[in-house]
C-alpha cells in the first residue's frame, strides 16, 4: 500500500510536469496564432488577395480611320482562332485528326500543338490555327460535338482595305518592341499592336483608347473560376481625315509606275485631300512581320517604297521656287511689276556664266513674263538684287525650309540656305553665285512636295498661313473647328502679280505648262513648272549639246515638278507634283497636276450635287467611277 502511495505520488508529480509542459506548448501555439492572425495579419491578407484575384487586361478596340466622307480606311476585323484545351480533349491526337478533316492542318502545326501542350498546364488553351474566316468557324461549331477540347476564340486584326494606296498616310501597326514598352500596361500584352508609322503612329494615343480590366478569381493553379469585376475600357477614337479616298486613289494611280508624290490641299483650311507617294508598300506585311529578304528588298529598292516622299522626299524645287524669289524681290522693292530684265540666254556674274534654260534667251522680260516662260536670267538678277537671306525669309513664310507640323511622323524640313547657315555649316563665306543659283531653286535649296503644296496654297489663298493636316476630327467633330489661318503679311498686289504670272504659265500660249491647261471653263488651274537637275552639266557637254533626259540612266535624269492651284478665280485646291527623274516638269508633272486638280473639282461638284437632293449621303462609288473616266 505504501509502495503504491509512493508510486501515486511520483505519478502525480510527473503528470503535473507533463501537464505543465503541455500547457507551455499550447500557450506557444496561442502566441503563434496571435502573431499570425493579429500582428502579421495585414501582410498575409495582402498575400491572400494576390492569391485570389488576378487582374486581366482587356485590350480596347483600336479606333478606325475614316476618309472625309466616312469611308473606313483602316478598321478592325474580327478574326478567329481555334484553340485546344488538352484537359478537355483527353485524346488530343484524335481530336486534331478530326479537326484536320475540317481545316487543313499541316504536320508542322500538329507537332507545334503537341509540343506546346506538353509544356503548358493541361487547362491552358493552345492555339491550333489563327486568322480563320467565318466559314471555318461555322464548320467547327457545327461539328463541335466530335471535337472535345476544341474551341474558337475571337480576336481583332487591323485591316487596311486599300493597301499600298494609303500605306504612307496610314502607316501600319505592329508588335510592340521592347524599347516602346512604357507606362501603359496594355503594351505588355502579348499580341498587342501599336502604330509604327503614319497616322497610326502619330495618333497612337487616341486610336489606342484605354484598356479595360477584368478581375478574375483563380485557384491555386491559376485556373479562372469566375469573373469578379469587369471594367470596360475606352475604345480608341475614330479618326476622320480630310482625305478623299477617291482623289487619293486617282492621284496614286495617276502617278503610274513613276516614283514620286502628289499632294492636294484645301487652300483655305490646309486640309490634306490627297497625299500619295509612289511606290507604296503592303501595310499588312508589317502587321504579320516581314522576313529578312522582304525587308532587304524594301530598303534597297531604288524607288524607296518605305519613304513617304510627300513629306520626307527633299528635292531642289527648281523653277517652282521662282514665285518665292519674285515675292521677296517685290517686297524688297528691287523689282516692280514693270521692271524688266534682258535675257540673252546666259547671265554673267564676274567670270561665271549662268545659263538660261532657253539657249536663245527670252529678250526683255518683266515679272509676269518671266514666270510665264520661266526665264532663268530674270530670277538670277532678282536673286542677286534681293539677297539670299530675304529669299529664305520669304520662303519660310510660304512654308519652305521648316517642318510644317503636319500630323505625320518623319516630316523633313527641306532647306533654305542663308549666309549664316553656310558659314556655320561649311566654315566658308557665302558667294554671290550661290545666291544666283538659289534664285532658280537650285543649289542648296531643298523642299518636300508637301511644302511646295503649302507654298502654292498660301499664294493661292491670298497670303494666309494655312497649316497642312490630315486629321479633321478625333472622335466626334469639333464644332469650333480650327482657328482661321494667320495672315502672312504679304502685300496683296504682289501676290496678285504672282498669281497672274502663274495663271499665264498654264493658260497663256507662251506658258511652259500651256499644254497641260484645264480647258473646262471655271475649273482652270494656275501653276508653275519646275525641272530640277540632279547632275551638273559641264561646259563641254553644254557646247556639244545637253544630253536629253531620255538618254540618261534613270537615277541621273531631272526631277519633274509642278505646283498649281485651281480654280484660277477664287482658288480652292492647291497641288504639288514631284515625279522623280521624270524629266521636264512641263511634260511629266504638269499633266498629272492638271488631272488631279480637275478630278478634285469634279469630285467636289459631285458631292455638292449628291448632297443637294435629299438622297442621303453618297457612298462615293459613282464619284469614283466618274473620276476614272476623266
Amino acid at each position: 500500500m505504501g509502495r503504491d502511495l509512493d508510486r501515486q505520488k511520483r505519478f502525480t508529480r510527473r503528470a503535473l510536469i507533463l501537464a505543465g509542459g503541455k500547457g507551455l506548448l499550447l500557450t506557444a501555439l496561442a502566441g503563434r496564432l496571435y502573431y499570425l492572425q493579429v500582428l502579421e495579419s495585414e501582410r498575409y491578407l495582402t498575400l491572400a488577395e494576390d492569391n485570389r484575384i488576378n487582374l486581366r487586361l482587356l485590350p480596347p478596340p483600336r479606333g478606325r480611320i475614316l476618309d472625309r466622307h466616312g469611308r473606313p480606311l483602316a478598321h478592325n476585323r474580327q478574326d478567329y482562332r481555334v484553340v485546344v484545351v488538352a484537359e478537355q480533349a483527353r485524346d488530343v491526337d484524335g481530336t486534331l485528326t478530326a479537326l484536320g478533316t475540317l481545316l487543313p492542318l499541316s504536320d508542322g502545326d500538329r507537332k507545334r500543338v503537341m509540343r506546346e501542350i506538353t509544356r503548358q498546364r493541361r487547362f491552358v488553351p493552345v492555339t491550333v490555327r489563327e486568322n480563320l474566316g467565318w466559314e471555318d468557324v461555322a464548320r467547327i461549331e457545327v461539328n463541335s460535338l466530335d471535337l472535345p477540347g476544341i474551341s474558337v476564340e475571337e480576336g481583332q486584326s487591323r485591316e487596311y482595305p486599300y493597301g499600298e494606296l494609303l500605306s504612307h498616310v496610314l502607316g501600319y501597326v505592329a508588335a510592340v518592341s521592347e524599347s516602346e514598352v512604357g507606362d501603359d500596361p496594355l503594351l505588355s500584352l502579348p499580341g498587342f499592336r501599336i502604330g509604327k508609322a503614319g497616322i497610326e503612329r502619330a495618333y497612337e494615343k487616341p486610336l489606342r483608347g484605354k484598356g479595360g480590366s477584368s478581375q478574375v478569381e483563380v485557384n491555386a493553379v491559376g485556373r479562372v473560376i469566375r469573373e469578379l469585376d469587369r471594367k470596360e475600357g475606352q475604345p480608341g477614337a475614330d479618326l476622320t481625315l480630310g482625305l478623299d479616298l477617291d482623289l487619293q486613289r486617282f492621284a496614286y494611280e495617276r502617278l503610274g509606275d513613276e516614283s514620286g508624290a502628289v499632294v492636294v490641299l484645301d487652300v483655305n483650311t490646309g486640309e490634306v485631300l490627297a497625299l500619295a507617294s509612289k511606290p507604296g508598300f503592303d501595310p499588312v506585311a508589317f502587321n504579320r512581320g516581314l522576313t529578312t529578304t522582304e525587308w532587304k528588298a524594301l530598303i534597297t529598292e531604288p524607288k524607296a517604297p518605305l519613304t513617304n516622299k510627300a513629306i520626307a522626299g527633299q528635292y531642289a524645287p527648281g523653277s517652282t521656287f521662282k514665285p518665292v524669289v519674285a515675292l521677296a524681290a517685290l517686297e524688297r522693292g528691287v523689282m516692280t511689276a514693270g521692271s524688266t530684265v534682258s535675257c540673252p540666254g546666259a547671265y554673267r556674274l564676274g567670270n561665271a556664266v549662268f545659263h538660261c534654260w532657253r539657249r536663245g534667251g527670252h529678250g526683255a522680260v518683266n515679272l509676269r513674263e518671266a514666270l510665264t516662260q520661266s526665264c532663268d536670267c530674270y530670277f538670277y538678277e532678282a536673286a542677286r538684287r534681293v539677297g539670299v537671306d530675304r529669299i529664305a525669309a520669304m520662303g519660310e513664310r510660304l512654308g519652305l525650309g521648316v517642318t510644317l507640323g503636319v500630323d505625320l511622323p518623319h516630316e523633313r524640313p527641306g532647306l533654305l540656305p542663308t549666309r549664316d547657315w553656310k558659314t556655320a555649316r561649311t566654315g566658308t563665306a557665302w558667294s554671290m553665285g550661290e545666291t544666283v543659283i538659289a534664285g532658280i531653286g537650285q543649289g542648296y535649296v531643298l523642299s518636300t512636295p508637301l511644302q511646295l503644296a503649302v507654298m502654292a496654297a498660301r499664294i493661292a489663298n491670298g497670303g494666309r498661313g494655312v497649316v497642312p493636316h490630315l486629321v479633321r476630327d478625333v472622335g466626334e467633330p469639333d464644332p469650333a473647328g480650327r482657328p482661321p489661318a494667320p495672315d502672312l503679311g504679304i502685300t496683296r498686289a504682289h501676290l496678285k502679280l504672282v498669281q497672274e504670272g502663274l495663271d499665264m504659265v498654264v493658260n497663256s500660249g507662251r506658258g511652259t505648262a500651256n499644254r497641260a491647261a484645264i480647258r473646262v471653263p471655271g475649273l482652270e488651274m494656275a501653276g508653275k513648272t519646275g525641272t530640277s537637275q540632279v547632275r551638273r552639266i559641264s561646259k563641254s557637254e553644254r557646247q556639244s549639246g545637253v544630253i536629253k533626259n531620255e538618254n540618261l540612266p534613270w537615277e541621273r535624269r531631272d526631277h519633274a515638278l509642278f505646283i498649281g492651284y485651281a480654280p484660277v478665280e477664287k482658288p480652292r485646291f492647291a497641288c504639288a507634283v514631284v515625279v522623280e527623274h521624270g524629266g521636264a516638269g512641263s511634260k511629266a508633272a504638269a499633266p498629272v497636276a492638271r488631272d488631279v486638280l480637275l478630278a478634285v473639282q469634279k469630285l467636289d461638284a459631285m458631292r455638292v450635287a449628291d448632297r443637294r437632293p435629299a438622297a442621303g449621303p453618297g457612298v462615293g462609288s459613282p464619284a469614283g467611277r466618274h473620276d476614272r473616266e476623266v
Binding site: R7, L26, Y44, A48, N51, A220
Partner: protein, 382 residues
C-alpha cells in the same frame, strides 16, 4: 476511501452511467460538430463528400465511446497485449500489402472502411505500456534491463510506421511512449541517455528518410525559398491563417480554402481553414475546447487509484495532446509538415474511431477510478 469499497469488483450500470463525465462528452461533441461544419464548408457548402460521412462515423464512434466507458477496465488490461499484437500485425500487413495512397502505404482496405493501423497503434501502444508498467514493481522501474521490453514495444511499431513512411505517427508513438515512461517514473538520466543516443543516431536516421521527408524537413527550415514547390503548403497555410485576422472572413467565405490554395484542406490542414474563416477568435476557441478536454482527461488520470488507469489516462491524454500540438504547430509553420490530423475535426474514419475509443478508455478509467487492480493479475482482484 471514497464512495466505493476497496474490494468492490463490479459496478452496476447506473453507477457506471453516473461515472461518465457528460461535460467531457459535450466538449468532444462540440469539437466534432465544429469539424463537421468545417467539412461542409470545405466541400463548398455540401454535406457530400465529407461532412455526411464524418457525421455518421462520429455517431458510431460516440456509441463506441459510451460502450467502452461502461465496459470493465480489467477487460482492457487483460486484452492489452493482444490488442497491441493485433495492431502490430496490421502494421506489418499494411507495410507489405497495404493499398497505395498518398504515396505511402497506410491503409488496409476492409471493403467497408479503409483501416489505418497506425491510428490503432497509437491507442494500442498506450494500452500495452500501461499494462507493462502497471505490472512492474516500483523499484524495478529504476532497473534499466527491465525497460528493454517496453522500449522494444515502442521501437518496433515506430520502425514499422517509418517504413510506411509515416513520420507523424512515428513521432507521436515515440513521444507518447516516452511520456508514459516518464509518468511511470523512469529515471531522468535514462531519458538523457536515450536523448544523447537519439541525437547521435540522427545522421543515420537521415539516411533512412525518404526524399520527400527530407525535403519537408529542409523546407520547414526555410519555406519561402520555394513558394511553388515543397514550401507551398506551409506558405499557403500561413497565408490562410494570417489573412483570417481577428474575426475571420466568415463561415464559407475562406478564399484560400475555397480557391484550393490549401492542400488537403479536409484533413491535415482543416485548422487553417477554420482559422481563416473564424479568425483568432475561432482558432483560440477550438484551442480552448481542446484545453478543456485535456484538462478533464488529466484530472481523470490524477484521480485514478490504479497504476493502469493512471497510465492509460495520461497516455491517451498525451496522445490526444500530441495530435493537437503537432497538427497545429505544423500548419502554423512551427514544425515540419508531418501529416498528423487535427483530432475529431479532420476528415478520417480510423483516427476518429480510435480517438473516441481512447476517450472511452479514459472515461472507463474514471468510472473505475476507485477499483484497485492487482499488479500481477489480469483482472482478478487480490
Amino acid at each position: 476511501m471514497a464512495r466505493h469499497p476497496l474490494n468492490h469488483s463490479t459496478l452496476r450500470l447506473g453507477e457506471k452511467l453516473a461515472g461518465i463525465r457528460w461535460l467531457l462528452v459535450l466538449a468532444i461533441c462540440l469539437v466534432a460538430g465544429t469539424g463537421i461544419g468545417m467539412l461542409y464548408s470545405a466541400a463548398g457548402g455540401n454535406m457530400e463528400p465529407w461532412a455526411i460521412r464524418q457525421l455518421a462515423r462520429f455517431v458510431a464512434a460516440l456509441g463506441i465511446l459510451l460502450l467502452v466507458a461502461i465496459s470493465d477496465i480489467r477487460v482492457w488490461l487483460r486484452w492489452a497485449y493482444v490488442i497491441y499484437a493485433m495492431a502490430l500485425v496490421l502494421l506489418v500487413i499494411v507495410d507489405f500489402a497495404g493499398a497505395i495512397g498518398m504515396g505511402a502505404q497506410r491503409w488496409i482496405d476492409l471493403g467497408v472502411i479503409n483501416l489505418q493501423p497506425s491510428e490503432v497503434m497509437k491507442i494500442a501502444l498506450v494500452l500495452a505500456l500501461a499494462r507493462y508498467f502497471h505490472g512492474m514493481a516500483s523499484e524495478d522501474v529504476g532497473r534499466p534491463w527491465r525497460l528493454i521490453v517496453p522500449l522494444m514495444m515502442v521501437v518496433v511499431p515506430v520502425a514499422l510506421v517509418l517504413k510506411q513512411p509515416d513520420l507523424g505517427t512515428a513521432v507521436m508513438l515515440l513521444l507518447g511512449g516516452g511520456a508514459l515512461f516518464f509518468a511511470a517514473g523512469v529515471r531522468l538520466w535514462m531519458f538523457a541517455v536515450v536523448l544523447v543516443a537519439g541525437v547521435g543516431a540522427m545522421p543515420v536516421a537521415w539516411e533512412f528518410l525518404h526524399d520527400y521527408q527530407r525535403r519537408r524537413v529542409l523546407t520547414f527550415l526555410d519555406p519561402e525559398t520555394d513558394p511553388l514547390g515543397s514550401g507551398y503548403h506551409i506558405l499557403q497555410s500561413k497565408i490562410a491563417l494570417g489573412s483570417g485576422g481577428l474575426f475571420g472572413k466568415g463561415y464559407m467565405q475562406g478564399t484560400q480554402s475555397g480557391l484550393n490554395f490549401l492542400p488537403e484542406k479536409q484533413t491535415d490542414f482543416i485548422f487553417t481553414m477554420l482559422a481563416e474563416e473564424f479568425g483568432l477568435v475561432g482558432s483560440l476557441g477550438i484551442l480552448g475546447l481542446y484545453v478543456v478536454i485535456l484538462g478533464y482527461c488529466f484530472a481523470i488520470a490524477l484521480s485514478a487509484k490504479s497504476q493502469f488507469g493512471r497510465l492509460l489516462a495520461i497516455g491517451i491524454t498525451t496522445t490526444f495532446f500530441l495530435y493537437v500540438f503537432i497538427n497545429m504547430a505544423m500548419v502554423m509553420g512551427l514544425i515540419p509538415v508531418v501529416g498528423v490530423p487535427l483530432p475529431l475535426v479532420s476528415y478520417g474514419g480510423t483516427a476518429t474511431v480510435s480517438l473516441m475509443l481512447g476517450f472511452g478508455l479514459v472515461m472507463c478509467v474514471y468510472v473505475h477510478r476507485d477499483v484497485m487492480i492487482s499488479r500481477h493479475a489480469t483482472g482478478e482482484e487480490r
